[in-house]
């Protein structure tokens, strides 16, 4: 499948007047999974929040095109209804609203057996009648977020650090849920669901395969390539090496641009 589902060009995003993302380019094709690596504070979550359209994340330049449509003028809920979904790293507690209610909302108002099956698969049955995220452990939060996405079944899933704070027992299940969400059981050509996974540690790649990897540092996407190779480099040399590489490259680009302009 070669259809581009998400195309981001020269995206610049401000949060409370401070520019966090600078000229970000990113493209995701339908049925493909991409991974965004980056150290803490590099702007990864900001990118997801901006794609999802949260008002605090102001796009000052660039474009986001989703399923062929410029979505910058759309609200978060309109983007969700267009087929975009997000798992939050630290979702809020909503008192009185139960896990079951959230799953029903995600399923477009439909409860019933299909919903119970999703809950059971995510090992959430015991949490169905608990207030959403109230007193949930790290693993429970991640499983609940993924179950909500499974109920929603978005064309593009934005996953913010799905493995952080999850113990080894839970991480395999998290991987399984992501694979189901992204239709990894289907033949490649039959997959329609795309994913963008943010990860700091890259552990999730032990469980979920991805086609493209990106590295973000200081609000800039500096490289793109095979996610496993990128992860190998990060593991061996740390993000410091990425930052050094970025700086070196941006100098070269600057001098190239200079040469282009001045011959």
């Amino acid at each position: 499948m070669d259809d581009v589902i998400l195309s981001i060009e020269r995206l610049t995003v401000e949060v409370e007047g401070r520019e966090i993302l600078h000229n970000v380019d990113l493209e995701i094709k339908a049925g493909e999974t991409s991974v965004l690596f980056g150290p803490n504070g590099s702007g990864k979550t900001t990118l997801l929040m901006a794609i999802m359209g949260f008002p605090k994340y102001q796009v000052t330049k660039g474009s986001i095109v989703f399923k062929g449509k410029d979505i910058l003028g759309l609200s978060t809920d309109e983007r969700a209804r267009l087929g975009m979904g997000m798992s939050f790293q630290r979702p809020p507690v909503v008192r009185g609203v139960k896990t079951r209610d959230m799953l029903t909302v995600c399923a477009g108002g439909e409860g019933g057996e299909a919903l119970d099956a999703v809950a059971e698969h995510a090992n959430l049955t015991d949490l169905l009648d608990r207030e959403i995220n109230y007193g949930f452990s790290g693993g429970e939060i991640k499983r609940s977020e993924l179950a909500q996405l499974l109920a929603q079944s978005p064309d593009l899933a934005l996953l913010d650090e799905p493995e952080s704070g999850v113990d080894l027992v839970n991480i395999a299940l998290i991987g399984e849920l992501i694979n189901e969400l992204l239709e990894k059981g289907h033949r490649i050509r039959d997959r329609r669901h795309a994913g963008l996974i943010i990860t700091h540690t890259g552990h999730i790649l032990d469980y979920v395969s991805a086609r493209t990897g990106y590295v973000m540092c200081d609000g800039v996407i500096g490289c793109e390539g095979d996610p496993r190779e990128i992860l190998k480099t990060i593991k061996e040399k740390g993000y410091e090496e990425c930052i050094r590489c970025f700086i070196g490259r941006s100098r070269n680009e600057r001098s190239k641009t200079f040469q282009n302009i001045h011959g």
Binding site: F54, D77, A80, V94, R95, G96, M102, C106
Partner: protein
């Protein structure tokens, strides 16, 4: 209607307090209202009451067309009992005037939980002596369906004065649903209601009260409960409709070991409504427990949400939770949770929170595809949801229906 013979002592005390303002709430001028004791025709078949009255009573949880899900019914219009009936053995439902004539032991309960001279409202109820309901479960009897009672204001400017006695005898189980409402949606009126609850050893009493007044009605309930050893008193209060002025601070005293009291209140203050509502529990016996939960929403009115727990015996435990939501308008919520302990080893706690809906919560729901309005409604619905431990499923569902029926008015 039979007259209650007032005891001289109570009359004297009431006379002395007849001008005594209440400690809390706006002072109501009783002279503004008519103290009518006009006869209302007794109706043996409550389904034959006027359709409009039945409809309004239904809004307050009182079902008259099909009473098969009720173990008894009492209806009072203004100051006259117009119907009382029982459908289950071991349960008594009658006008309190009738009970006073029938049982000479009523003196053991009359003004024993509530003092006659708390303020001019209790005094006025005593001095006018009209009627109210008497509901009792005999020892060991357990109601399957709730007893329902309705206190209805039918005339403009009427002062309804009610004195209720509720007794759950030893090891009985009694469920009551009370609806209070008005014929007119605009006429001024006054409701003064004294209710005395007695929960004997090992008994369980659940009391669910739904108020559906109008923006011109003033309401002053005066309620107290006495809970004996291993007794359980569960009180749910719902006010979703506008009212001009409501002040109440019901109290429950645990006098027997391991007695349990739970109060749940759902309060909504529309513009022009002024509410001063709380619950008090005195834990005076070993191992007694309580939980007071209130949810207050203002859409423009003012709410003082109080709560008070006092621990005076070993191994008692109490928790107070008071949450307020300022939904819109210029309303005010003032939460006043209070705890008092007089012994070591007691366990009392509270949590209170007042605010608007957090933007982060709205955005979370919007990321799942709900519009802002739908997300707000979902959060409000969740806020108002009461999961009352110990309340039978049927009553719980009725309570939830009563809340949901009025939710749309909030948006």
């Amino acid at each position: 209607m039979s007259e209650v013979k007032p005891s001289k002592t109570y009359t004297d005390r009431a006379k002395a307090a007849s001008a005594k303002p209440a400690a809390l709430g706006e002072d109501i001028d009783l002279g503004m209202y008519i103290s009518s004791s006009d006869e209302q025709p007794y109706q043996a078949d409550p389904s034959r009451l006027p359709a409009k009255a039945k409809e309004q009573m239904l809004e307050a949880g009182v079902i008259l067309d099909d009473v098969s899900q009720r173990s008894g019914t009492y209806i009072q219009m203004d100051n006259a009992a117009v119907h009382s009936s029982v459908r289950q053995e071991g349960i008594e439902v009658m006008a309190v005037s009738q009970a006073l004539g029938k049982y000479d032991w009523m003196a053991d309960y009359w003004w024993q939980a509530v003092a006659v001279d708390i303020d001019k409202y209790t005094a006025n109820v005593e001095l006018t002596q009209y009627d109210g309901y008497f509901i009792r479960a005999l020892p060991g009897y357990k109601t399957i369906f709730p007893v329902q009672a309705c206190l209805y204001l039918s005339k403009a400017r009427i002062a309804q004065k009610v004195h209720n006695i509720i007794i759950a005898e030893e090891n009985s189980e009694l469920h009551i649903i009370t609806g209070c409402t008005t014929a007119s949606r605009e006429d001024p009126g006054l409701h003064l209601g004294v209710s005395e609850f007695y929960i004997k050893r090992g008994a369980k009493l659940t009391f669910t009260m739904i108020h559906s007044w109008n923006p011109e009605v003033a309401v002053r309930p005066r309620t107290a409960a006495i809970v004996e050893e291993n007794g359980l008193f569960l009180s749910n209060y719902v006010l979703m409709k506008p009212v001009r002025s409501l002040q109440m601070y019901p109290a429950a005293t645990c006098v027997g070991d391991n007695a349990v009291v739970r109060y749940n209140s759902i309060l909504v203050a529309a513009p022009g409504s002024s509410l001063d509502v709380g619950s008090r529990v005195l834990l005076n016996a070993k191992g007694a427990k309580t939980e007071i939960i209130s949810r207050a929403i203002t859409t423009g009115g003012n709410i003082i949400a109080r709560g008070y727990i006092e621990g005076n015996a070993p191994e008692v435990k109490g928790h107070l939770e008071c949450r307020g939501l300022i939904l819109q308008g210029e309303g005010m919520i003032h939460a006043i949770p209070e705890l008092k302990g007089t012994l070591p080893g007691i366990d009392l706690s509270h949590e209170a929170a007042v605010g608007k809906i957090a933007e982060e919560e709205l955005e979370y729901l919007m990321a799942r595809g709900l519009t802002r309005a739908e997300a707000t409604a979902t959060i409000v619905r969740g806020f108002l949801r009461v999961d009352v431990e110990g309340l039978p499923a049927m009553l719980s569902a009725e309570l939830q229906r009563a809340i949901e029926a009025s939710e749309k008015d909030l948006m």
